[in-house]
Symmetry: C2
Subunit: 192 residues, 2 copies
């Protein structure tokens, strides 16, 4: 195994077991038997190492900025629109392949979960100014609707949702996501 | 292979390829190399054969009646409440096992899809008097939210949604399901 592969393997193990925040480049380097400077040199930051471990062609950062850019009362519609645009692109087809793998490997499922929560949903909620104690609950609700959209539209391919034009899906799911992000969802009962 | 196993195998193949409605006991019997009367004798009706093929411990029929029994404006809350009660029961744990299998086998995924759409969602929408041309779209939307709930709460076990009390989940998801079942969801743009 090359040291690059050893680093990626150690990164997947640590990110999926400890989560993105608790995992450190130092510990990943130690597990891979390399110097931390080798990781910095070949992969860059912890974020970039995480992306490499996930082999994701999409960096959610740009999408989060775009979704935040506009009136607060339309953020649900913008999120669903952007989400459909990404998943219907060639990168989205790669994402579907990643998800199929993720369902078969524990580490991969954990990585995907960390990826979506930390790289997309948390920054979005922070950008909206959602209080930290509500962010987990609202983030879970958004994840529950959007993961179900991926499942029904892209994996199981239920009709008519698999072939529905973006505007139709946005009209149906936009208000749901809007309420989960900014509306009344009992967030006072579940913080953390 | 016993003739019982041959029937179950043929049933899975036909139900998943043709869908529940188009599959026939006669064709299943032909494929299994048995007489249709053998299927009637050992399994009962097409519905019962379908349940046997899915090895499901839950018959959704009783649950659909219970969800329909009450004010129309609270049907979303009743559906989410009932859904959580079933999935948090021992039968639900078996259901999670079925779903994990379903993700790995094409026929099983198709069976689960047919099971949920035909045995639970369609009868519910019919009971609510939803016009046939809106039923597929509304059913898909309900499936997108509830499949995402299963994914986040029971399979991926995201926190806090995995441990949230039923009342908290119902308060958040009840209005979503209510709108998908009876509210404005652009159903006029997508029938069939």
């Amino acid at each position: 195994m090359s040291s690059r592969d050893a680093v990626l393997r150690a990164a997947r193990e640590q990110f999926s077991r400890k989560g993105y925040d608790a995992a450190t480049v130092r510990a990943i380097a130690a597990e891979a038997g390399v110097d931390p400077s080798m990781i910095n040199h070949h992969f860059g930051t912890k974020e970039q190492l995480f992306m490499a471990a996930l082999e994701s062609p999409v960096d959610p950062k740009d999408h989060v900025s775009a979704v935040l850019n506009g009136p607060r009362e339309d953020v649900g519609e913008r999120l669903v629109t952007r989400f459909l645009t990404v998943w219907d692109s060639p990168a989205g087809a790669a994402g579907v392949a990643v998800l199929r793998t993720a369902m078969q490997h524990e580490w991969s499922a954990a990585l995907v979960r960390e990826f979506i929560l930390n790289r997309a949903i948390k920054p979005l909620l922070a950008g909206l100014g959602v209080p930290a104690e509500e962010a987990s609950w609202r983030g879970n609700l958004v994840a529950s609707q959007l993961s179900g959209l991926i499942l029904t539209r892209y994996l199981v391919k239920l009709e008519p949702i698999a072939s529905a034009p973006h505007a139709v899906v946005v009209r149906a799911l936009g208000p749901t996501i809007q309420r989960y992000l900014t509306g009344a969802v009992g967030a006072d009962h579940l913080g953390g």
